[in-house]
C-alpha cells in the first residue's frame, strides 16, 4: 500500500471527522443546558441538507451565480435549522421538563421520524437519492500520487471555522457565559438574572445550525443526499459525543474525529469499505464498556 493511497484515506477521515464533530457538538450542547438527548438531531441535519438543496434549485431557476448561491444555500440551511431547533425545543423539549428524560428522548425520536417520512413523502420523489450541486471548486492538486481536492479542504476548513466560532461564542461572549451558567447551575443562573428559556432556545438553535452545516457539508462532499442520511449521522454524532463525555465540548470534538479515525482504520485494514462501520462501532462499544462515562469523563470543570 503506498503513501498517497493512505493520505487519501487521511483526508477523507478529516472530512468525516469534522462532520461528526459538528453533529456531536450539538448533542453535547443540548445535554449541557437541559440534560436531555434530542434524537431528532440527525433528521434535522438531513432537513438542513434538503433545505439547502431546495434553495439551490430555486436560485438556479432564477439564474443566480454559483458563488452567490453557495453562500445563500448555507444561510438558508443554517437559518432554517436554527429555527427548527428552537421550535423543537419550545414545543417538544421544554414542556417535558419534569417528566422522565426518557419521554424527551422518545418524543424527539418520533419527531425525527416525522421529519424523515415527511421529506420522503412530500419532497418530489423524495424516496430516491438526490444529486447535490457541486458548488465548491474541485481543482485537484497532485503531490506524487496524493491527489488533494480543493473541495475537501474547503469543507474541513468551514467545519473547523464553525466549531471555532461556537467555541469562541461560548467562551467569550456574555451570552456564552449565560449558556455555561445554565449548564453548571440552572437555578443560580436564574438568580443572576439569566432568562433561562431564552438561553435554552438559543442553545438549541445554535446546535441545530451546526447540524445544518454538517448536512450541507455531507451533500457537498458526496454530491448526493437522501432522506435517511440523518439516521447514521445522528447515531455517529451521538456516539461521538458520548465517547468524549456528554456535556463536554472538547470531548465531542475529539469523539467525532476519533470515530472518523476508527472508520478510516477499519477501511484501510479490511480493504473492504463496508466493514468500516462494523469495526468502528465495535471499538466504540469496547471503549464504552471500558470507560462508561466517556473517554474524557465529564468533570464539572469541563462542562460547556
Amino acid at each position: 500500500m503506498d503513501l498517497g493511497f493512505l493520505a487519501q484515506f487521511f483526508v477523507n477521515g478529516l472530512v468525516l471527522g469534522v462532520i461528526y464533530a459538528l453533529v456531536a457538538v450539538g448533542f453535547t450542547l443540548f445535554f449541557g443546558v437541559l440534560d436531555v438527548i434530542k434524537f431528532s438531531h440527525g433528521d434535522v441535519l438531513m432537513l438542513g441538507a434538503f433545505t439547502a438543496l431546495a434553495t439551490y434549485l430555486g436560485l438556479s431557476d432564477i439564474g443566480v451565480a454559483p458563488g452567490v448561491a453557495l453562500i445563500l444555500v448555507f444561510v438558508a440551511g443554517i437559518a432554517g435549522m436554527a429555527f427548527v431547533g428552537a421550535i423543537v425545543c419550545k414545543f417538544l423539549v421544554l414542556p417535558l421538563r419534569g417528566a422522565p428524560q426518557l419521554n424527551t428522548l422518545l418524543i424527539t425520536l418520533m419527531f425525527g421520524t416525522v421529519i424523515r417520512e415527511s421529506v420522503r413523502l412530500f419532497y418530489p420523489s423524495g424516496s430516491n437519492p438526490k444529486p447535490f450541486p457541486k458548488l465548491l471548486p474541485d481543482n485537484a492538486f497532485e503531490f506524487g500520487n496524493l491527489t488533494l481536492r480543493l473541495d475537501s479542504c474547503i469543507i474541513v476548513l468551514l467545519g473547523i471555522l464553525a466549531i471555532i466560532f461556537t467555541q469562541l461564542f461560548i467562551q467569550k461572549t456574555k451570552f456564552g457565559l449565560a449558556i455555561r451558567a445554565v449548564a453548571q447551575d440552572e437555578e443560580t443562573a436564574r438568580l443572576m438574572g439569566v432568562n433561562f428559556k431564552t438561553v435554552v432556545l438559543l442553545t438549541f438553535a445554535l446546535g441545530s445550525a451546526l447540524a445544518a452545516v454538517g448536512g450541507i457539508s455531507t451533500g457537498l462532499y458526496y454530491q448526493e443526499i437522501n432522506f435517511a442520511m440523518g439516521l447514521m449521522l445522528g447515531l455517529i454524532g451521538f456516539s461521538s459525543a458520548v465517547l468524549g463525555g456528554l456535556g463536554s465540548l472538547y470531548g465531542a470534538i475529539a469523539g467525532g474525529f476519533l470515530f472518523a479515525a476508527l472508520q478510516t482504520v477499519g477501511a484501510v485494514w479490511f480493504a473492504v469499505p463496508a466493514y468500516k462501520d462494523v469495526f468502528a462501532f465495535a471499538v466504540v462499544i469496547m471503549l464504552m464498556a471500558w470507560r462508561p462515562t466517556g473517554l474524557l469523563a465529564e468533570r464539572n470543570e469541563e462542562r460547556v
Partner: protein
C-alpha cells in the same frame, strides 16, 4: 412608609405538602431584617418562593409598590434584588472573574461593573489574587466570599442571604457578619436568614422567627433576644 419587600400570607411547598402555612413578613428599607428558625422550618422555601424559584400557592409578594407574585426569577432580580443562595452555589467550572461577571449579568454599565469589581476586591482582597482560579477548586470559605462578592456585582437595593455562615469556620463566620454589616452601611437593605442566633441578632434591626412554616414571633432585636418563642423554636420547648 411602604416596606421595601412585603410578603403577605404566602403558602408554598413541595409536591402535596405545604411547607409555608401563610407567612407574612416585611423588610424595611436600609435595615437588616433577620429570619431565624431551626433546620427545616421553611426559611429557604420562603426565600425561593419570593424569588420565583418555587411556585407560590397563595399569597402575595410586593417589591416597593410593584406586585411581583408569580413573576419569573430573572424579572424579579432585575428590580434590584440579589440573592446569595444557601450552600455556596458558585459556578464551579467558571473562574472567579467569570463568577463575578455573572453577578453583574444585568448590569449594563461597564464602568459600574469595574467599580463594583474594585469594591468587591477591597472587601475580599483574597479574591483578587484568585481571579483566574476555577471556583470549584476553592475552599468552602473562599467560595462563601465569592458568592457574597458576586451578589454585590449587580446594583442591589436588597440582598437576601440564606445561611451564609453555614459550615464555615468561626473566623470566616465572624468575617461574614462584619461584611454583611458593612454592606448594610452602604445603604443596601438586607434580609438575613440564619441559624446563628446570637451573632445575627447582634447586627440586625428587626427579626422574625419561623417555625413549622409559620412566623411565631417578630419584633426588634432586643425583645427577640428575651423571647421565649425564639428559645422554643430552637430547643423545641
Amino acid at each position: 412608609m411602604t416596606p421595601l419587600l412585603k410578603i403577605e400570607n404566602t403558602v408554598s411547598g413541595y409536591d402535596e405538602a405545604d411547607v409555608l402555612a401563610g407567612v407574612s413578613l416585611d423588610v424595611a428599607e436600609r435595615e437588616i431584617t433577620c429570619l431565624l428558625g431551626a433546620n427545616g422550618a421553611g426559611k429557604t422555601t420562603l426565600i425561593r418562593t419570593l424569588l420565583g424559584l418555587n411556585p407560590i400557592r397563595s399569597g402575595k409578594v410586593f417589591f416597593k409598590t410593584t406586585e411581583i407574585t408569580g413573576w419569573p426569577t430573572h424579572e424579579i432580580v432585575r428590580l434590584g434584588i440579589t440573592c446569595v443562595p444557601e450552600g455556596r452555589r458558585v459556578f464551579p467550572a467558571m473562574t472567579v472573574l467569570e463568577n463575578l461577571r455573572m453577578g453583574g449579568y444585568l448590569n449594563e454599565s461597564k464602568s459600574d461593573i469595574s467599580e463594583r469589581l474594585d469594591y468587591a476586591f477591597t472587601i475580599f482582597p483574597k479574591l483578587k489574587e484568585r481571579v483566574g482560579q476555577l471556583a470549584g477548586t476553592m475552599s468552602g470559605g473562599e467560595q462563601a466570599m465569592l458568592t457574597i462578592a458576586r451578589g454585590l456585582m449587580g446594583n442591589p437595593e436588597l440582598i437576601i442571604f440564606d445561611e451564609p455562615s453555614l459550615g464555615l469556620s468561626p473566623l470566616f463566620v465572624k468575617e461574614n457578619f462584619r461584611v454583611i454589616q458593612e454592606i448594610n452601611g452602604q445603604g443596601i437593605s438586607v434580609l438575613l436568614v440564619e441559624q446563628n442566633v446570637r451573632q445575627t441578632l447582634a447586627i440586625s434591626h428587626v427579626g422574625h422567627v419561623l417555625a413549622q412554616g409559620k412566623i411565631i414571633t417578630s419584633g426588634n432585636t432586643e425583645t427577640l433576644r428575651e423571647s421565649d418563642a425564639l428559645k422554643a423554636a430552637y430547643f423545641g420547648g
